[in-house]
Symmetry: C2
Subunit: 413 residues, 2 copies
């Protein structure tokens, strides 16, 4: 369907095809005989997975030097037809000087990760090597001098070189065997489910936290807004991030149980919702990263993307009580780049907070809304403290089934 109400009927929604082409038995034998680059770090598997399934379209390999250069400077890359696409984050594979020396004369290199598979995950054809310009990529991506930022710390630990190649062959739909593979839908699978349900709008929500009733209010309100615009059957793509996160974020397994509980108890209406895992790691790069959060989902044929206050933000690593990014720069930047999102509409959202009088989450600071003094802004740290201590949550803050899972997690620490 995917047309209907919007007067912006074209361009057509994009669906990126998976780049995975599974191996024949003969190929399996052939690829298993190639020199192997073992991937030690699951974050690098996240990247490989992200590229392989089409989430980084038009990228078809770990970034080569030209793609790295364009992305680092312009937050875009150029496709084979000369068209620019937003791609604002480095999606690279790093190696040490010793690994480069060992690999430099090979025409093909097999990538393996023995933690998840005995077989080859991908083959790099005609490898290319270039400098991992860590200071430049970190400063241009994150906008800070600090090396204590959680993602910068990881980049600074990388090898001195980056590897790409003339092309890459992706040989597996990566499976993690962690009981959550059924949520790891490809862009095409998400598109197909939306089509089967007769969706005429798909609005995506990036999330890496447990969902409270403020989120639910927002997501229901978005559906209502879209229906007011003339859409008949808007579907929510609830799309938690599945890759690497900093240590104090809630792990994926607890988050998926929490989200599923909210579907099971009717907080979200299952027919109006697709719950799927997005394979990318986090960057915590604020305005830079919200471009990635949106542009990647464009590949699943979404029509709308929701974004709010301080997306992908983080505290300044070296200045107390200062947020690294301006709270509204992410949203403002994304809206300004909407023309590069293949027709997807950006929906800026309002802040929801806990109304102590009405005992529920409500939009804050909207015309006709409750006065400021009625609201309590329940911070992440306050929520963690309550969950850790098993305090009863404020009535109406979160679905009771979801709260229980959150308490279980924090009490397990």
């Amino acid at each position: 369907m995917f047309a209907a109400a919007s007067d912006n009927a074209e361009p057509k929604r994009r669906v990126a095809e998976s780049l995975v082409k599974e191996m024949t038995d003969a190929e399996k034998e052939e690829f298993n005989a190639l020199p192997v680059l073992e991937i030690e770090d699951m974050e690098q598997v996240n990247y490989l997975h992200t590229i392989a399934e089409g989430w980084a379209y038009p990228l078809k390999r770990f970034m080569n030097e030209q793609e790295f250069l364009e992305s680092m400077n312009m937050n875009t890359v150029t496709d084979a037809d000369g068209k620019k696409h937003i791609l604002s984050v480095p999606i690279t594979h790093h190696i040490t000087a010793a690994q480069k020396e060992a690999m430099k004369d090979h025409k093909r290199i097999a990538l393996k990760c023995s933690k998840i598979s005995d077989d080859v995950l991908a083959v790099i054809e005609e490898p290319e090597f270039f400098d991992n310009r860590k200071e430049e990529i970190c400063t241009k991506t994150f906008g800070t001098r600090s090396v204590l930022h959680p993602k910068i710390e990881r980049i600074e630990e990388q090898g001195e070189f980056l590897i790409s190649g003339k092309s890459m062959r992706f040989t597996q739909h990566i499976q993690f065997g962690d009981g959550m593979d059924q949520y790891r839908l490809t862009p095409q699978q998400i598109y197909d489910i939306a089509e089967e349900r007769g969706a005429d709008a798909v609005y995506a929500f990036q999330v890496r936290n447990p969902l409270h009733n403020g989120h639910c209010l927002l997501l229901k309100d978005t559906r209502e807004q879209l229906i007011k615009q003339g859409y008949k059957n808007p579907i929510l793509l609830l799309h938690p991030l599945g890759g690497w996160m900093k240590d104090d974020d809630v792990p994926l397994d607890y988050r998926m149980r929490q989200h599923q509980a909210l579907l099971d108890d009717g907080t979200f209406i299952p027919e109006h919702t697709i719950l799927a895992i997005w394979p990318s790691p986090m960057y915590y790069s604020g305005p830079n990263e919200v471009l990635w959060h949106a542009s990647s989902r464009v590949n699943a044929g979404i029509t709308h993307f929701i974004t709010g206050r301080d997306p992908a933000g983080v505290k300044h690593p070296e200045i107390d009580d200062v947020d690294l990014y301006d709270h509204w720069h992410g949203q403002k930047l994304l809206i300004s780049q909407q023309d590069l999102l293949n027709g997807v509409q950006v929906m800026p959202f309002k802040v929801a907070a806990y109304n102590k009088v009405n005992k529920k989450m409500e939009f804050f600071g909207v015309p006709g809304g409750a006065p400021k003094e009625d609201f309590d802004f329940i911070s992440g740290s306050k929520m963690r403290k309550m969950a850790k201590e098993g305090t009863e949550q404020p009535e109406g803050f979160m679905s009771p089934a979801g709260w229980e899972i959150l308490c279980e997690y924090y009490q397990s620490l």
Copy 2:
């Protein structure tokens, strides 16, 4: 004419109009009565001049927060029609908290610089103020953590706020009274001269150094290449940077005398050359800055832009003998963004060096060229030493009249 040989006949060359509208006597009186923000620093006059004459099109004021945000993250800004233009450097005006406090309630603010004029240079209408996010703009623009970079040092000294406004009225074609105002041509003036001469191609060369015969070789070779492509009358826009530079660069007055000497002695053919001053300050931001060097000249209706090795590069401020930028990233990046340059063709250039055997500057490393051992790479520091000591230059290195001016400068220090 500006069409001819190129099969890429459209889009039409752009000529940015000057934004200056000189004051009537009544306006002069009116504007002189407004609250005044005095510009202490000539670099800020450079910015004002750059915007006023159309060199920063589509910018029509000091960047406001949205323009700052887009430029900082995307190296582009969006015009009123929603079209993106390359604008890769911050062009802002900074103020202190005290200045902001004094100015915040005024509807109009007059900008003056008593060093060059008793009259108002510009009026800011409906002022807006926003945070001067120094760490973010410096890291994203320059790609380094160092605060010892020559331009970053200046930004770090700026006030805590940036000022823009709903609009700006530019009231003067800025004159510096330094004997070089006749070279300060507007984009329209440059376009008109090229038209008068019947140019069918205008190729621009950004320069902030004295010109040796390697430059001359390159610029003549470019003309020959364009003629081979079918152009009948390619004209060189020799376009030295006129704004702030670091202390050890050769000052503008000596450079202009040196360039003029090369026109006077026939090293450059006057009918094939337009010598004009470009008002921007330097940034020393490498690949980021070459975008600015090219995009700004697009506004003068050029058809081609030449760029070479390590444009706008600088040593890493804190790592010995390491260049801050990859030598070829600037050229590669600019070529990749050519579609955003309104049809202007980027011409990558070859390295020229001194051939000791032939006693002249020649292209290095070209097919059929002389072997490496015949070449001497005469570095800037070697050249400075020779000029300082009055050593005779290697035969054929630079026009004698130009060399004399260079010696005069270095011996004056």
